[in-house]
């Protein structure tokens, strides 16, 4: 494999709860316990896990929205953990993000053309007026959308606007945080198709995070499964789907509904979590308390 575009090494994020909660017996929260991931140029890494698995913390930490407790984030071979200096500036222009909820990730007071020129404005780059139409074409929205506000669009269209904004500075990596979970099934498929086409055209890398393995599998070359702040399974998508090694991955696979009444009716009731069970619990954080 070629040089990775993005690499995290043993990323750790521990939270100390507020003093009041600590007195009530709440310990330090181990949100990330040494997670190492790699995204190769032009490839997609999918990260799957339920709420509280640490997948969102991983994203926020590597995007610099949270400060890592330990470990490093490297982008194109340069350490960007602290997001300072030239490396940090370059990282900001080369990496963009699409959030889950297209209703809150677009500033409601900005028109579409404001939103699309926002990255350029912040980075003080040239942004020719024609670029707005170009971006709208790329995500297949009509050009007249430029003067409208986000609330005038449906959920799927708003997510297209968010993707267009993520494309604005021609980034090398797009971080996708549950980009389709808030959308209808049919719209999900359209967005996934759009993302795949954009990757083929522009050779951009994706870090795709979701709670639904079926959605991630569609787009990802590799999949990582997170639980309790740790990567419990990692490998090529086809291998993880066909020969899941970890019991939690198996539970995730079994939970995905299949559009086939016979298979669904044959499934045993899913009344308790399949994993962790009483005698098979995840390992505690190998890094101990770093706070």
């Amino acid at each position: 494999m070629s040089e990775p575009l993005l690499r995290t090494v043993d990323l750790v994020k521990h939270y100390r709860p507020p003093r009041r909660a600590r007195r009530g017996g709440h310990e330090v929260v181990h949100a990330l316990c040494g997670v190492s991931v790699q995204v190769a140029p032009g490839r997609t890494l999918g990260i799957v896990g339920e709420s509280g698995s640490g997948k969102t913390t991983l994203l926020r930490t590597l995007l610099g929205l949270e400060r890592a407790t330990a470990g490093t984030v490297e982008f194109a071979g340069r350490d960007v953990t602290a997001m300072r200096g030239d490396a940090g500036r370059m990282f900001r222009a080369d990496v963009s993000v699409v959030f889950q909820d297209p209703y809150t990730s677009l500033d409601p007071r900005m028109t579409v053309s404001d939103l699309l020129s926002q990255p350029a404005r912040i980075q003080r780059r040239r942004f020719p007026a024609s670029r707005v139409s170009e971006l709208l074409d790329q995500v297949r929205l009509p050009r007249v959308s430029a003067g409208k506000f986000p609330h005038e669009f449906s959920g799927g269209q708003r997510q297209r606007i968010a993707i267009a904004r993520a494309l604005a500075l021609e980034p090398r990596l797009i971080v996708l945080d549950e980009p389709v979970s808030a959308l209808d099934v049919s719209v999900q498929a359209e967005i996934v198709t759009l993302l795949r086409e954009l990757q083929e055209q522009r050779d951009v890398s994706y870090l795709f995070v979701a709670h639904d393995l079926a959605v991630v599998a569609d787009l990802s070359h590799e999949v990582g499964v997170m639980y309790g702040g740790q990567m419990v399974e990692h490998g090529a998508t086809s291998r993880v789907l066909s020969e899941p090694a970890h019991p939690y991955t198996r539970a995730l696979l079994a939970a995905v509904p299949v559009p086939d009444p016979r298979i669904e009716r044959a499934k045993p009731p899913f009344l308790r979590p399949l994993w962790p069970t009483e005698d098979d619990r995840p390992e505690p954080c190998p890094h101990g308390n770093l706070l």
Partner: protein, 588 residues
Amino acid sequence: MATDTVPTDEPATGGNGRGRVILRRFRRHKLGVAGLAVLVLLALVAVVVPLVWPYGHGEITPDLSQPPSAAHPMGTDTLGRDLFAQTLRGLQQSLLIATTVTVVACLIGVTLGVIAGYFGRFVDAAVMRLVDLTLTLPTIAIAAFLGSVVPTGGVNWLALSLVLGVLMWTPVSRLVRGIVLSLRSLPFVDAARVMGAGNLQIMTRHLIPNVADHIIVAATLLFGTAILAESGLSFLGFGVQPPDTSLGLLVSNAQSAVLTRPWLFYFPGLLIVVIVLAVNYAGEGLRDAANPKAALANPLRTARRRRDADTPPDDTPRGVLDVRGLTVDFGDQRVVKGVDLHIDDGEVLALVGESGSGKSVTALSVVGLLPPDAVGGGSVRFDGRELTGLNFSQWREYRGRRIAVILQDPSTTLNPVLTIATQFKDSMRLAGPLPADHRDRIVALLDGVAIKDPARLLDSYPHQLSGGMRQRIAIALAMVHDPDLIIADEPTTALDVTVQAQVMSTLALARERTGAAMLFITHDLSLVAGIADQVAVMRAGEVVEHADVDTVFYRPRHEYTRSLLALAPSLALAPASRSAAADIEEDS
């Protein structure tokens, strides 16, 4: 091509487009335009007319205490001063002072409020203590003190405005801080940060525009208060002093003469009312224009209506639920176009469709909960009885008792300030006095939705539980009165896949125990493969396919159903999930 809306300058800015949009929206707000026109007119009058009016505001004429006449359109006071000239001077002073106070208070309030809300922690604590401190300052006492130290003749308007502004910024900063606190955690702020925006840029480009409409409302209220506060201070000797005057001072001086020389009171008083009203309407117009989402129509104007039902033929088979020719209109847009649905006793009907297909509105009409601006039509029969046209108290016999509803988001459907046990007890009281063994019944209900160790949960609050747990409690709550029909509206959309599987199993279990029929609404066809007996596929307000589950999945007739099936995100390697399911069967 929307060339006029694309920013034409480089590097890109969006300010012009936005300003134009606000102006366009403001022009549509008639009252706002009228308010602004009145304000501009008054300001012009205050500046221009004194230059041409024959009497000065302090000039004493021989006409003492004259009622309004041609020479003195507002009459004169006891000293013979022309009231019109005085009112003009008062208008000048009041507008100037009130505007300056509002600007000063808003500047301080917005700056400190945004900083406190955005940075939080120590900064927030410091600003809030400053607010507390300012609130403890007794305005009257300070004014009286300052009034005793200033030279006779009063202070100039700027000093007065600054003092008032410094005393009046606190409500603005509290308001702004509160809104910014909720805004700063929204993803669009994170998005800007990921793009590399600095704190100042986030505050000025994102936070302040989003609190702008609230600031405008606060400012209009402040403006009115400032006019009154100025008159109070002037009365106490700090501020505008005779022979100079202000509207507030004119009114307070005239108080003793309301009965004998009413014109002295009414003209300046009326002017204050007109100014405050105009400011409020102009502010309302600006607020609506600054908030692109604000509806210009009054949502309360339309009442809940329904179209007379065409009496359906009475040859319908009974069943639990029978919906015939259901229509729902919003204005002249028909969103449900004649839907027929039928559910037999103990049967599960899945209603599948995308957002905007009308599936949720259909479900809401079944329980008579259409939004106020919707007009319903057609027939809804429950257990053979027509439900349309029931009044509120007649509905109570059905809602919650014979028809239970489970909604999408369990974090908003449970009351956050009541314990789980209290919510069950409230529901049980609908049927009469609370039974003595109610605690055991609640435990049994929670046990019925596969909650481990339910007794431990009774005294917890919803926020202490996970989303999946909350949804299971919502299911147990729906079962309290042993309903004949459960309406589940996307009950798993907000949940993780594994939790979704658990909630679906729980729902199936609870339904089997009570034998209730169910109307299950979802956008995800695969979700209902295991639970549904019948499936109705909805698109653009119409049911395009309504058949038993096997037909819909294995021999779909309508093309739309086929496309939904093809789009369902199932694992490309279905055998893997099948074998995973088999593994689990072996394990259990």
